[in-house]
Structure formats: structure tokens, C-alpha cells
Subunit: 384 residues, 4 copies
Amino acid sequence: MELWNQYETVRSRSANICAPLKTEDYVVQPVVDVSPPKWHLGHTTWFFETFLLKPNVPGYTEFDPDYNFVFNSYYESVGARVIRTNRGNLSRPAVEDIMRYRQHVDAAMRDFLQGGLTPEQQALATLGLHHEEQHQELLYTDIKYILGHNPLFPAYDRHRVPAPAIPPQGPELLSIPEGVYEIGYAGEGFCFDNEQQRHRVYLQPYRISTRLVTNGEYLAFMEAGGYSSFRHWHAEGWDWVRQQQVSAPLYWHQVDGQWMYYTWQGLQPVAWDAPVCHVSYYEAAAYAAWKGMRLPTEFEWEAAAPQLQWGQRWEWTESAYLPYPGFIKAPGAIGEYNGKFMVNQQVLRGGSEVTSPGHSRITYRNFFHPHLRWQFMGIRLAGN
Amino acid sequence: MELWNQYETVRSRSANICAPLKTEDYVVQPVVDVSPPKWHLGHTTWFFETFLLKPNVPGYTEFDPDYNFVFNSYYESVGARVIRTNRGNLSRPAVEDIMRYRQHVDAAMRDFLQGGLTPEQQALATLGLHHEEQHQELLYTDIKYILGHNPLFPAYDRHRVPAPAIPPQGPELLSIPEGVYEIGYAGEGFCFDNEQQRHRVYLQPYRISTRLVTNGEYLAFMEAGGYSSFRHWHAEGWDWVRQQQVSAPLYWHQVDGQWMYYTWQGLQPVAWDAPVCHVSYYEAAAYAAWKGMRLPTEFEWEAAAPQLQWGQRWEWTESAYLPYPGFIKAPGAIGEYNGKFMVNQQVLRGGSEVTSPGHSRITYRNFFHPHLRWQFMGIRLAGN
Amino acid sequence: MELWNQYETVRSRSANICAPLKTEDYVVQPVVDVSPPKWHLGHTTWFFETFLLKPNVPGYTEFDPDYNFVFNSYYESVGARVIRTNRGNLSRPAVEDIMRYRQHVDAAMRDFLQGGLTPEQQALATLGLHHEEQHQELLYTDIKYILGHNPLFPAYDRHRVPAPAIPPQGPELLSIPEGVYEIGYAGEGFCFDNEQQRHRVYLQPYRISTRLVTNGEYLAFMEAGGYSSFRHWHAEGWDWVRQQQVSAPLYWHQVDGQWMYYTWQGLQPVAWDAPVCHVSYYEAAAYAAWKGMRLPTEFEWEAAAPQLQWGQRWEWTESAYLPYPGFIKAPGAIGEYNGKFMVNQQVLRGGSEVTSPGHSRITYRNFFHPHLRWQFMGIRLAGN
Amino acid sequence: MELWNQYETVRSRSANICAPLKTEDYVVQPVVDVSPPKWHLGHTTWFFETFLLKPNVPGYTEFDPDYNFVFNSYYESVGARVIRTNRGNLSRPAVEDIMRYRQHVDAAMRDFLQGGLTPEQQALATLGLHHEEQHQELLYTDIKYILGHNPLFPAYDRHRVPAPAIPPQGPELLSIPEGVYEIGYAGEGFCFDNEQQRHRVYLQPYRISTRLVTNGEYLAFMEAGGYSSFRHWHAEGWDWVRQQQVSAPLYWHQVDGQWMYYTWQGLQPVAWDAPVCHVSYYEAAAYAAWKGMRLPTEFEWEAAAPQLQWGQRWEWTESAYLPYPGFIKAPGAIGEYNGKFMVNQQVLRGGSEVTSPGHSRITYRNFFHPHLRWQFMGIRLAGN
């Protein structure tokens, strides 16, 4: 029963995020990393239908067998799928069809969740909700990308109040002593497989900033020629800067000599005291090098987190996304959730203004390729 | 006044073509050659606003200055434009916005067309209508591509009766005598600049089929291994076959051992007596070579046309798209209409079931790159 | 016996062209259109071995069976081949191996050619010599590309005297009357299949320049902003200019404010009175449009040729490369020689300073894709 | 004086590696990761000229100023350079020019090294020698790639005895206890900056194989369908398998039903007891997952190394290439040596049959992108 309440809350939140959209906004995919909002709405529904209803509910009527083809994301175990770059080419199923799909699955899930579930089914249903919460953050970031790359710069919600800026203070560096620290999830509640096993890590002494780098501080890097000299960049970062002609964070535009950026309310003057956002790992690392600092490792972050101000931005760490000691991949399709992405990505810690409630905890490991910027990514400095 | 009647007829026809669509269908661009239907609706409107209303109607209020950026296609003279590959990434302007844009421009055009127009303004308005009629054919072909490449294969109109098949008859070859022929437009009515000047062409004696190649005849080529041997192909055609893994006309699918193709009514069994459609120039030329024949030149076609059955398919010719002797490019943006495409394209003659009324005449020159197939393109044989 | 003398003359000329090279120069392939010189030397030899010796000489010992794989160019009929982009990746066979290959084949050809040949064998041997002469021109142009794109700009031959410049005269335009002209090869000697059948063409009255456009005249186009405005370009030409950032003919470099170009003697100041060279079809057509003229068609060129100064540059024509009426493709591999390239290419007429003796005649049809510039290509103007 | 002896030894070893080559073999670059041998010979020489002779030897005469352009690899600090993909397009400087360049620099280095050097100069000269030793391994791997991808499969040295195979034994797993281990270089001799600082790492208990996976064991993975199911692969690894159509280690060819591989002696039957070689990180990780094991981290490897059999293959580890705690980038161009590559690469430990003497030590960190296979890379298993 409690699971059904959770289900209802999570599911309605997805719909609410899309409420300000026009039908057309649900359809497009301006770059490969962004998915059309209607795809997110269908895919999260497909997860419940595929992994819970079809195997467990006798007599359940599949909504449309072709949807398996359209809404599978990357689960190779469950058959053919539309390749990722084609998601934005599909005008059908229409938004209204997907809404009916959601209702169809929700009705069946109501009966299912209110019945007696095995612990394994409960775990899978919970995973499905966390999965949808992850896609809620993607809904926000993909919608921002879709509207923010339209030449008309339409607002998502003219009345949405921006997150309050933090008054800039000198970078207060916390000193953390050398020693063995416990890392990874230890509680009773839900966590992803990549947060386990809890294990020991030896940390050398280090310093870590209690706050994030601001737009104003980042502007100083830009004005000091940060984007025009290779000196502080990784080699691949510098190639990226030149090939993509990057000269500012994503969503920044210079209009009549003034720096503006795209926000939920449309184009606005940059708020200099707000934490810088939408920077790549390459930019974060270059900024840190320019300051004579570095990024924290994910272990340094986790060890210091109780003493830090965090939660407004995902924070790039110097750690590559790798399995923890003792990491075990679940059998079957669910095992494809995390483990197979553990190469060529960087860990981010913290959480953002668009992170769903269940996705902010000290042990949570987010991960993206180092050139990506469309998530709400920011910078925290560390040093030796 | 007559011009206003024509205007009303043409403009409402564009809207009617789109009537069976869902909002989502207006938005997507599955390949670069296909444009979103809403873009066609906006672009044809932009033509009237840019070339007639803004220069000629004092006090005309532009609907939205940003639309110039969104709806310019390739007119370099009139400023920046969204690059072609990005048309499918734009969710805004929404369909309803574009419909209001059409109403806004139509209202202004009504006043304008009902006033006293200079001959030059009349010519430009007429060109605008022919321009929109060309885009009507593109609307049909692009809608077919969008729906026909959706894994759900939705029908455009379940009740649309297919064009009647032609009973297959032996290829009746007409013999045309050697001599000097007059080619190009000579009448008083509208024609495009590329149909002029009318000029003399010397033709050697030739034979030309009175009818088009059928699906059944083309199947024989496929079953004889036409797609698996280089022998009858142009070198570039053979590269195209292998790189794109082409093995049948566009929209053909083998389902449970039966050949189906996508039609306005959804997937249907191939009608063997209907003229083959959606083949590239490479396929047309390879088929002809396999038959020991060739394609006609555009001049041979035009000289024989009065004796031919034509109008169901655009027919690939062996002629490259080049200027006629004495061709003159109009000054200004309108001069970009045809001349600048006269390289690397092949001429097609005839017309199709989705060609607008004003676009079927013996001198009409259509043109596409040789690998393209999404237009309604067919094959007529010729020989010496 | 006379054929053997011809053979000896042609074959030794290929080796002489390469005499100034270092071993390393024989190996590289800086772009796909350029082949390594050692590949040309092997490929022309392979032609004689494959089409004459192996089918006709009992007991002939193939030099190395693997060479068929390495030295086939595009003859699909005779088996697998190294794809074109890989030619520059092959360090073996070494140059000395290829020289031994040439000697091996030459020795066998000596006996073969001095025996009694059927008319068909004679024709094929003659074709082999013309084939090698074509590759001699490619040897020159590919060597120029290899050395001219090396940052050290090494000379091919410091003592080679450049072709004398032509004193600039006002563009003397010849007027050619309207009428029916005979086009195509009619004599008894060798010609390529694409020069036939001789046939009638009706020409409207036209004017054609008796001389080629000079470097000085082309500089005026550059200085008038020819490369920075779309106005005179084909749409594909303008895309090419922007994507490739073209701003001058190939091999031109601005050094300390002075225009230099790469010649057989290394970098030299541009000779303003010499005919402009190494321009693409797009550049030739844009230049002509800027002058209010156009390029001649290949038929106009051929009809006027006896009255023209020609032979220093291949001249772009406005004609696409298409079969003449009655064109017949030879059966078997030899039939792949010309016909399969008859799409997307432009005809060039005339000949250049590096054209072999047998490849300059009024009916000769050279052909290249419109963006290519590494051949010795120039511009002649025509008008109505 | 001792430094001069070392110099002489190292420099002559580079020339010896190339002794079996033909001139043509020095020139080509079949893929971007492989450099032409002559480039390695020039680049290592350029290092001494640029970083030691030019700044420190008054009156030193640069061999050729243009060489700076040709032989700079990735040092952005020291000016323009030929982009990496163009190295194989350069026929000049010729091999004999580069040999003279080496003699010129060696003569100047002899005087320089036999004079009184500051400790900093000594360190830089030592770095230059280690740099050349790294390129010696690349010379071997690049030569193998060049010859092994030639359709003639020429031998490098027909008489070179292959490294002896190891008799297969059951995978003897060593158990290493939990605890804090010291990692990183601690001695007095030379090490690269990336091996420092020496620091403490906490390891959970783990098991590690004392030997490498053999060709025979890897064949079992292939025969069990390892390359045809996604199950054991990273997502990016599986994409790589499908896009590159990978189905065996690099250099393996199935000839008449028998597995052969390219060796220094040409094509040979695969030696089943030899350690598998030329596999990517993706293949190594998939093999380990198929065995229910994993790869060791670089820390686990280093802690266990004294008890392991190692040195025949570079061993992929599960560790991404990241800075050690306290890592300090040297100022100036030398600081570009390692730090800027610390993203998106995996660490390899151990050494191979073609590793130069100074490049095998327990703390040595080699690194490559996970898809690369042309180095002598093998697999060691680990587990929890």
C-alpha cells in the first residue's frame, strides 16, 4: 500500500514536469544525448510493464507490442530497439497515446502493488520508481536543452523563481586528515548497486572547499584567456575546446556586450553570485588547474560531505567511474543498469535543483562522459 | 481578383494536405532531405511576407522578426537561416503559431492582391504560388517518409484509394525519327526560368517506351540478382548499393516471405502491375542496362511526350541538370531559385500522383541528386 | 614490331617521369584522389599482365599472384582489390620489387608483341599503352600534389623551365554561327569509347574566347571578393568554399604579402600572364559568372577548337559527362573503362603541359568531379 | 661520461630496431595511432635538439628549422606541428636526411654530455633517453602494424625466435590480505612523474592469478560465442565489437580453417600455450567477466607484483589513468609529458617482449585508450 502511494507520487511528478510543454516540445531530439520528453514518459512506463507486469500478472494485456521496440533504451536482453539517434525521428506514438499507455500501466500497477508482493518484486518496483526519478532529472535537463537551443528562446515557466544565489565568500578550505575512511552505502534503504560494497579507502591529507565556484569566479578565468591557451587543459579537453569552439559555459550568450544565460524564465542576465553551471569535466579541471587547485576525488568528497554545502549542482570529481571492490552485477536485464557503463566516464557527486527527492545522498554516484554539459554540473575545488 | 482566387485555392490546399496529421507529425525530420511539415507551412508563408508584403505594403507589421531566421530555406541574399539539418530540432514555433502566421499573412495578401499590382508584382505573386505548389509535393513526399519510417507504420489516410494500376502490356517502343526538335517553353503562361530559352536540339533516331516499368518487371531484375552484381551499375551507384545495403525500392519490406510496401493506407502487398516507384537514378539506370536499354534524355522525352502515357511518376532521364542555351538568372534573391543547383543533379520529367495541378507540363524540368528515392520516381526505357 | 617500339617508348617514359623522385616519394597518398607513384607503375604493368599475358601467352609465369590484389584499380570483374584509401598504407611491394615486376612483364610483352597478334589483341595492347599514358599524366599531377603539400616544398626538378607565359590580350571572342555540327571521333586511329559515336549536335549561336583566363585576371576576381560572396557560385560550390575554406587556386600561398605558388622548381612568385591553373569547376563557373559570361559546352568547344589556342590547360566545360548517342559499352572488364563513370562528373577538353603525346585531340573527353583541382585545370570563357 | 655511454647505447638501439626495414617501410602510417618509423627517429632526435641543445649550447646550429614543424608530437608550448593524421603523407625529410639529422645531433650531444651538466640538465637528458626508449617500443609495435597489415604479410625477421611459450597450468590464484599498501616509486633512480607521489592505498582482500591468460584459453571464449553476445561486455565495448566487426585478437586470421597470426616471422599457426596478445581493454574485461573474474586494479597489481610472473605482456588493469595524490606537473613543455593524458585511458602494468630495458619496473604506469590493441597487451585475472 505504501509502495502504491510512492508509485502514485512519483508517476504524477513526471507528468507535472511536462505540464508547461506544448505538444511539439515532447517530440524533438536536438542532440543524441537528449531524448524527447515523450520518450522518457514512455520508457519509464515500459520499465514497469516489461519487468513487473508481463512476468508477474497473469492475464495482463500488453498495451501495444510495438512499444517494446520504441521504448527500450539499452537493455540488450529484452530485444531490438530503436537506435538512440532515431528517437527524435518518431512522431508516433503520439503524446496522447503515451498518456493512455501510462494510464493503462498505472491501472494494472495499482492492482499489482496493492496485492501481496514478494521481496524481490518489491525491490524491482522500488528500482522502477528510482529509475523514473532518474528520468525526471533527465526530463528537466532535456527540456532545458530543447527550449534553450531554440532560436526563439521560449521560457519553460515565466514565473519559476530561480534558485537563490549564494553570497560569495572567500574559498574556505576545510582540511581533512589522513587516514582510512569508510566509503559506500551502509543503510537499510534503497541504493543502487554501484554504491556498494561499502569498503575502506585510505586518504592522504587534503583540503576541500566548503562551497562551489561561482559564475563571477568563472568569468575571471574566461577573461584571463582560459579558453585560448592549452596550458591548463587535458589534451582531449583542448581538442574539444577547439573543435567545438567552446568559449563559455553552455547556455551563455553575449548579447550587446552583456553576458546572458538561458534559464527556466528565458534569457536572463547571468547571476554572478550563483554557482557556475553547465560546464564539462574538461572545463572544471582546467579551471581548477588555473587556480592551482584540483578537483576532489569521489572518496574525498564523500568523506568530507557532512561538512560541506552541497545539493545545488552535480559536482565533477577527479574519479573515473569504476566498480567498488566486491561490486556484483545483478543477473538478467537489471544487471545492465550500471556496471556496463564503467569505462570512460567521470563520477559526479552531490545533486542539483532538478534532482528528484530520492536521488540526493552522500553515497550517490552519478556519472557522465567528460565532455557533457547539459546536466546541472558545477565545480568544487580541492588541494593537497 | 483572379490572383486572389488562385491564392486562396493554393493556400488552402496546403492546409488540406496536412489535415490527417497529428501535431507530432508536423515536427520531425528523419533525414536531411525531408523537412518537417510545419516548416513547409511556415516557409511558403515566409516567401509571401518577405518578397511581397515587406517590400510593397507600407505599414505591414511583420508577424515575428525571428521567423526570418527559422523559415528561410536557402536564400543567401536574405540573411541568416537555421541550417537544414536542424529543422527537425525546433519544437517552436508551434503548429498553432504557424497557423496564425498563415492567417496573418493571408489577410495582408488579400488586401494586397485585390489592389492594383504592377506586372512585376503579379509575376512575383504567381511565382510564390508555384513555389507553394512545389512544396505541396514535398509535403506529400515528406509526410510519406515520416510515417513510412515509423516502426508503427501508421496510415496517412486509411480510406485513400490507391492510384489505379495499369494493365501490363509488352513494352511498346515508339520510334522517333532523327532531326531537329524545338525544346523548352514557348507559351504565354507561367513557366520556371529553367524551361527557357526555347531552342533547337538535334536528335538521332531513337526508340522510347510508351509506358513505365512495373513493379513486377522490376522484381524480375531483383530476382535475377540485380542488386548483387556490379555489372549494370554506375561505379557510384554500386558504391551506394553496398554502403546503404540497398536491395529493393524504398518502402518495400519483405514480411513473412511476401513483398509489402508502405502506402497512404499503411503496409500493403505490392501491386505488381503498378509502375515501380521510389527508385534512385542509379537503380533506374541499372535496370535499363540489364534490359539492354537505357533511359531517355530529357530532350528525347520532351520530343516524344505527346505520344506517351505519363504523369503517374517522375521519370529519371539520362540528362544532367544544366542550363539551356540563353538561360538567364533573374537578379536578386529570386535568381537563386534554379540556376545555382545546376550541377551534380539529374533531370526528371513527367509528374506524379502528388504533383500539384500547375506542375505538369511537357517542358517542366524537375531535378534531384541521383541517389534520392523519396520522391515518386519511376523508370521509362529508351534505346537506339 | 611497330607496336613493340611504341610499347618501349611509352613504358620508358613512365620511368623517366619518376627519375627525380626519392624512394620515399613513391609511397605516400596524401588524399584519396592521389595515388602513390609506385602504385601507378605497378598498376599499368598489371594491366598488360592481366589482360594480355595471362590470357594469351601459354606458360607465362605470373610475377606474384598477390599483385592482383594490390594493383587492381577499379575493375570489379577481376577480383578483390585494396580499397583506394589504403594505397598509401602499403610499404610493400617495394619500389625495387615493382621495377623488377616491370622488367618481368616487359620481357614477356616483347616476345608477345613481336609475334603475330590478332586485331583484337592489337587493339587491347594499344589500349594498354593509352591507359599507361593516362597514368603518366596522373603521375605528374600526383607527384606535384605529394611534393607540393610537403611543408618543406621540395622541388621536383630545379632546372625545369616553366611553360612560357602568354602575353595577355583583350579577350578576343570568336562568334560561331548557329547550325548542326558533327561531334565525336571519326578517324581511323585510336580513340576511347566515350568519343563515339560521331553524331550531330545543333548549336545556337555563341561566342568563345580564343585564349584562357590568366592568373592576373583571376586575381582581380579574388580581390573583388569572389570567394567571400555566394552570389556567383553554385550552391554546392559555395558549400565547398566555406567547408574547405578555399580562398585561392590550389598551390597558391601568400608569403610576406606576396602571392607564391608551388611549381616544379619549388615555391615561385605567381606568373601573372600565365593561364590560371588548378581551379575547380566551381571556381571556373563562378569566375565566368562574375565576368557576365559562362563556360562553353563541350560541343561548343569541339566545334570551335580548330580556331582556338589550346593545350596548356584542361578546360572545364559546362557539360556533364554523359554517353554520346549510340555509345556502346565493351563487354567484359574493358567495358568498365569509361561508361560506369558517367554520372556526377564534368567534361574537360583540351590538354595540359603534362598530357602524354597521344592524349591531345579535338574529340578527347577528360572528366573529373567538380570539386577537384589537382589536375592542370584552367578556364575559357564563352557567351551567347 | 656515463650519460654519454647511455646515450650511445640507447640511440644505436633505435637504429638497430629499424635495420631490417626497407626504405618504404619507414614512411607509411596505416592508422592514426601508428606513426611512420622515420617519424619516430626524427622526433626523438628533435627532443634532444629542442630541449637540450638549443637552450644550452651557444653557437649550436639547428639542422633544419622546418624540422620543428615536422617532428613536434604534441608539445603545444613549442609551436606549430604537423597534425597527427598527416604524418604518413610526408615523403620528406627522406630517411637518409633523418639519419644525417641524428648524426648531427649526436655529435653535438657528445660534446654537451661530456661537459659539465647541471643536475637539471642531467635530469632532462635522462628524460630524453627514457623518452627514446618509449618510442623504441612504439617502433616495434608500429613496424608490426605496418607489415602485419600489408596483404603480402612480409616478415620483419625470418630468423627471429619467438618468445618461448609458457606451459599452461591451472590458474593459480594468489590470495592477498586486506590492508594498507605503499604504492608508487620510492627509489633514487629515474621514474616518470606519474609514478609519484608514493602513497598509501587500502586494499580489500583479493585474489590474483600468477600467470597470464593463454591463446588456448582465449579461444575457448571465442568458441563459446564471446564475440556474439553482449552479455559480458561494457556498453562501449559491445558497440566497438559491432562497429569494427571484431571477432578475434588483432593479427589473427583464419586460413583454410586454421587460426594463424602475424608474427615477426610472418604468418604462423597460433601458439596455444603462449599468453594471448593484442587484445583491447574491452576484450580483456569481457573475457574476465565470462570467467566470473575481473581484472586487477593497478594497486592490486603493484602490491602483488613481487609474487607474479610478469614482463611478457602489458596487462590491462581495471584502473583508469589518474593522478596519484600529490602529483605535480612540471612547469613548461616537459610538464605536458603525462598529466594532460589523465582522462579516458586505462592503466597497463608489467612490460612486454619489446619493452626497452629501462621501462620495466613494478611502479611503471603505461596507459592507452580502451579500444587499442596494437601494443603487446594481455590479460591477467583477479577476483574477490
